[in-house]
């Protein structure tokens, strides 16, 4: 008679449900797995958090001064109040401060996307985990959706939460809700720009990850690609003294789209925004074509 060391086998008495939303379980597991590593989380999210606190303070200070409160009222002399006073003295509009903070912080979030995205598919390929996933009623589309949602979750925390927090502070600090009344469109523009940024860069990062079998290789490839396209466009732009050469880099096109979305002309990019949309969405389409092809291969192998 067969004997097991522990318990008897118990039959499952429940009922199997549908599997249309089962990819959410995979997305949730992906998030749980990444949040287990505390140090990278701390390193990657500390700068946006610090930046958010400082800029929130700057915005609060500006509205306070506008309402007649003196710098002394902000608090005792400290490095933070000194930075805040410096920013306030530039008299940049609050909206511009938020937008510039948003754009500069979104570049920082590339680190977040690269870190969490590089291993998303590469690690599954290396460990062979896709063999288990695709032995279940999970299709390639569900797998892709799960991996994309996991990555987008981490990216959105870094790219969307800071401007929303600052906008919230601005809304409450502004007299008579003037921020919401006069510059309220910054909020939907921030959301739209964040979603576009996350969609495009997450797609690119997942595509790179799907082409690699190691997280490290995917990280190196993503930084090399980003630096190369950025360097070429900036170099050509500088040599030709024509900012329109920035259209060759995805980053320059994002700058142009940001200027268009936030209604800012001071970014200095004046080519037709449609070209930027074509470049940015073209890159995303290419990334998805790679992703779909690679995931189909994984599915077939399983």
């Amino acid at each position: 008679m067969a004997r097991t060391d522990t318990e008897i086998y118990r039959r499952f008495r429940g009922r199997l449900g549908g599997t249309r939303t089962s990819f959410l379980a995979l997305a949730r597991a992906g998030i749980a797995a990444e949040t287990r590593r505390k140090l990278p989380m701390l390193i990657l999210y500390a700068p946006p958090a610090i930046g958010t606190v400082i800029f929130s303070f700057v915005v609060y200070a500006r509205f306070s001064l506008q309402a007649g409160v003196t710098p002394a009222a902000i608090g005792p002399p400290s490095p933070v109040s000194a930075i805040a006073s410096g920013f306030v003295s530039t008299l940049i509009q609050v909206r511009d401060q938020i937008v510039l903070f948003h754009i500069s912080m979104s570049y920082f979030t590339l680190l977040v996307i690269a870190w969490f995205g590089a291993g998303a598919i590469a690690e599954d390929r290396r460990s062979g985990a896709h063999l288990l996933y695709f032995s279940r009623p999970l299709h390639g589309s569900g797998y892709l959706a799960a991996r994309f949602l996991s990555l987008a979750f981490f990216a959105l925390i870094a790219v969307l939460v800071p401007p929303l927090v600052i906008c919230t502070v601005a809304a409450f600090a502004s007299p008579e809700w003037s921020f919401l009344k006069e510059e309220g469109r910054v909020i939907p523009a921030s959301i739209a720009y964040s979603l576009l940024w996350v969609f495009v860069w997450s797609s690119v990062m997942l595509a790179i990850s799907s082409l690699s079998t190691r997280k490290t290789l995917a990280l190196v490839a993503s930084f090399a690609g980003f630096a190369l396209t950025g360097a070429v466009s900036v170099l050509l732009s500088a040599l030709q003294r024509d900012p329109r050469f920035l259209i060759l880099g995805v980053q320059g096109n994002f700058h142009r789209i940001a200027g268009w979305m936030f209604g800012m002309r001071r970014l200095g990019l004046d080519w037709d925004v449609r070209w930027s949309w074509i470049v940015v969405l073209g890159v995303a389409a290419l990334a998805w074509a790679v992703l779909i092809a690679r995931v189909r291969r994984m599915e077939a192998a399983a």
């Binding site: 004997r3 522990t6 449900g17 287990r36 279940r136």
Partner: protein, 228 residues
């Protein structure tokens, strides 16, 4: 249950099984409860809260079996489940597989090149060679497929008994210890015939035991020798 490494590296054993339960259609609470049950069954205790990547080979194999059982399927596909296991782990795995197949009513498709494992756990075998079915049948019938053979130790007039065997057309072979292996010619061949021959030739049969082909013999015959 795949043969090679396939466990997500950043999840605990419990999370792996629960996740795959969810992917199969179990609600999250059901998947979690069911994961505990099957992990109990395969003998993964506190280790279920450790990362699966830190498991030993034996525990990884048992975790793979657990994830295959989480939704209680009727059919299990097991690819080399004892691969890379030490003797104790192999024995435990074979016990589990045997239990599933013989007591829990599961149908198992067990792929292995370890024929003693197959012989111990399976009832029906298909030998594939170069993508084609070389041998197929129940293990009981396959190990008798080349005719029934018996090993006998002969006393008395041994020479006369051998002559009688030759006259009746029963082929035989002598083993180093002096015992004879007699091929009875057909699967239902009767050993009474041998006793009759022994009586007529004034010989006695001290022992009579059945000789079965091992599955390895069947395999080698099916694929055309050791080189097949």
């Amino acid at each position: 249950m795949p043969e090679g490494d396939c466990l997500p590296p950043a999840l605990t054993g419990l999370e792996v099984v629960a996740l795959l339960g969810c992917l199969t259609g179990l609600a999250r609470p059901d998947a979690l409860a069911r994961a505990h049950e099957v992990l109990d069954y395969v003998g993964i205790d506190e280790a279920r809260y450790r990362l699966a990547s830190e498991y030993s080979s034996g525990t990884k194999q048992r975790l793979k079996l657990a994830q295959a059982l989480v939704h209680d399927p009727e059919l299990l596909l097991l690819d080399e489940p004892t691969s890379g296991l030490d003797p104790k782990g192999r024995r435990h795995m074979l016990d589990l597989v045997h239990d599933l197949g013989h007591r829990q009513g599961k149908s198992l498709l067990y792929c292995s090149h370890l024929l003693p494992d197959v012989e111990r756990t399976c009832t029906y075998v298909v030998v594939l060679s170069r993508g084609r079915v070389a041998v197929e049948g129940s293990i009981a019938s396959l190990t008798h497929a080349d005719g029934r053979q018996v090993r006998v130790e002969v006393g008395g007039d041994r020479a006369e008994f051998l002559r009688s065997l030759r006259e009746t057309g029963l082929s035989h072979a002598e083993e180093p210890g002096g015992a004879l292996v007699v091929r009875l010619g057909r699967e239902d061949g009767d050993v009474d015939e041998l006793f009759g021959l022994a009586a007529r030739s004034r010989a006695t049969l001290r022992t009579v035991e059945e000789v079965r082909s091992s599955l390895e013999d069947v395999f080698l015959a099916g694929v055309g020798g050791a080189g097949g």
